[in-house]
Amino acid sequence: MRISLRRGVVLGREGWPLWAGVAVLVAMPVLAPTPYILHVFIVANIYAVFAASWDILSGYTGQLSLGHALFFGVGAYTAGLLSTLVGTPPLFNLFAGAFMAVLVGLLEGVPCLRLKGPYLGIVTLAFAEIAFSLAFALSSITGGEEGIIGIASLVRGSIYIKYYASLIFMLACTLALYALTRSKLGLILLAIKADDAAAEAAGVDTTRYKLLAFLISAFFGGLAGAYYAHYLNIANPETLAIPLSAAAITMTLVGGMGTIIGPVIGAYVLSLFFDLLPVVAGQVEFLTESRVLVYNVLIVLIVLFMPQGIVGWWRGRQAEPEVSSMRADPSRPQAQA
């Protein structure tokens, strides 16, 4: 009751497309029963969690992270090392990876607390690059460029089972993050993003909450990385690299910053577009050969014409008939008077 009073009806705000989307995802093995397409969706599910973890820190709290792959990679390598050296069960490794990412987040977050905007961005980028270099420098442990191979699978069995496991993983993580943003904590994070001096004046320990956002973000980023390692059975330097950090940002911008659902949608749109374009447009040679070009043109178009991302665009469309009746009703008489 108190929460729904706050910012519209929980989850219902996105309306039917959200539920339709979930329904399509659940029915996917029936709709597209090819292993390759399901594989693309599994990876998209993992990226969705990763992008949402970026969103809670950068989109929601306004703390720009340009090196988010750090958490993903730490999660992946931790899970990989545990699995191959110690042989602990994958489910344990998922949480161990997330926990290690939180520790690294602490290491990174504490010195970063006083930094803002581009300065914070540069330092986070540097942290990720340090980890990336370490993956090569410590090749006796990390396997260098090859990475760690032979990591146990989280789920054994058919691609269908793996698909549903990844779907449950994605839904559980994003629901948890979404619930967080709708809680008191979410309100505080938004206040910090809007104006951290004013938040301080309001009595908010902004340092503590920024660090908390860092750690939550690191946790889910690490979780996604560990899941990735246990799905692809490999943890390599790519999981720490700049393109992956950039992917989280791109997916979130396309889907809609500060919405948690946005990065999930962005992850699907971009993964599907990039990986399925060759399948769908197999006959059109130009599209297949220049998919990187087409992909980037798509990103430019979305950012130009939907600056608030897909979710922001949809909410804006809904705003006239629905949101106004929901939130502005009491003020309407005064506004006209």
């Binding site: 108190r2 009073l5 706050r6 910012r7 008191k184 309100l187 505080i188 938004l190 206040a191 809007a194 104006d195 001096a197 004013a198 938040a199 301080e200 004046a201 309001a202 009595g203 908010v204 320990d205 902004t206 340092t207 939130r327 502005a328 009491p330 003020s331 005064q334």
Partner: protein, 269 residues
């Protein structure tokens, strides 16, 4: 018990001693000392650049003083961070409004109320309830569910006050709440501040350029010039004080500040 409460009532709510702030050789606030008693309404005036906002920033922890001390209810608060000071019971407004733009008006006010609850200042009320009451008090209840960014300037000024009140302060620092308001808005806000103060339990320090309003509201006026306290007294005393007139007219007419006055710490070239 009786002795303790006697001691409390005789001690000022706020004690500022030798407060000094240098910015790269310029002293914005210089050896400033004053006290404010519980339940007092104090006006703080001075020409542009006299150090009024710097003084607020020092009192609320947004700036660290170069020297000096600030005590609140006898407790040293110098060096505390802003949120800690707010939780102890000093809330401020900003001269330039700083709303949480994308949050609703109600959420804007709920944030400080939530923090006040954490600090044990809500006496069992829910933050939401307190926020609604405060909005009602300042006349923004009808805007509760609108994004703060939609409000006109006059209402944003009220939102600043609402947010400060929701922190449940015992000392309220108002930094030019009348800035940019129309004549009618000013009169309504003056009435509101009078009512808020009249309800009791609140001590106010008001910085304001609109001197007429400030003189109407304040019981005592402190005058700053070049970071120094040059006068203190009732509105009537202060407005007839030759030093004060000199500071204002000198600054206004020569544009270079008082020339023959020896108290010119900003005088380093």
């Amino acid at each position: 018990m009786a002795a303790a409460s006697l001691a409390n009532s005789s001690r000022p709510l706020l004690e500022v001693r030798g407060l000094t702030k240098h910015f790269a050789g310029l002293s914005a606030v210089n050896d400033l000392s004053f006290t404010v008693a519980e339940g007092e309404f104090v006006g703080l005036i001075g020409p542009n650049g006299a150090g009024k906002t710097t003084c607020f920033n020092l009192l609320t922890g947004f700036l660290r003083p170069t020297r000096g001390s600030v005590r609140f209810r006898g407790v040293e608060i110098t060096g505390l961070r802003p949120h800690q000071i707010t939780r102890l019971g000093i809330a401020r407004t900003f001269q330039l409004v700083r709303p949480f733009g994308q949050l609703s008006v109600l959420d804007n006010v709920t944030v400080p109320a939530m923090m006040a609850q954490q600090a044990g200042r809500l006496a069992g009320h829910s933050p939401r309830r307190v926020a609604l009451d405060v909005l009602d008090m300042v006349g923004l209840a009808h805007r509760a569910h609108e994004p703060a960014a939609n409000l006109p300037h006059g209402e944003l000024k009220r939102l600043e006050i609402a947010r400060a009140l929701a922190a449940r302060p015992s000392l309220l620092l108002l930094d030019e709440p009348f800035g940019g308001l129309s004549h009618d808005e000013s009169r309504a806000l003056e009435q509101l501040i009078r009512e808020l103060f009249g309800q009791g339990g609140l001590t106010v320090i008001l910085v304001e350029h609109v001197l007429k309003v400030l003189m109407n509201l304040s019981q005592r006026v402190l005058v700053l010039d070049y970071g120094r306290l040059i006068a203190s007294g009732t509105p009537d005393e202060v407005s007839h004080d030759p030093t004060v007139i000199e500071a204002y007219l000198g600054a206004a007419y020569s544009g270079a500040g008082p020339q023959e006055d020896d108290a010119s710490p900003g005088g380093n070239p």
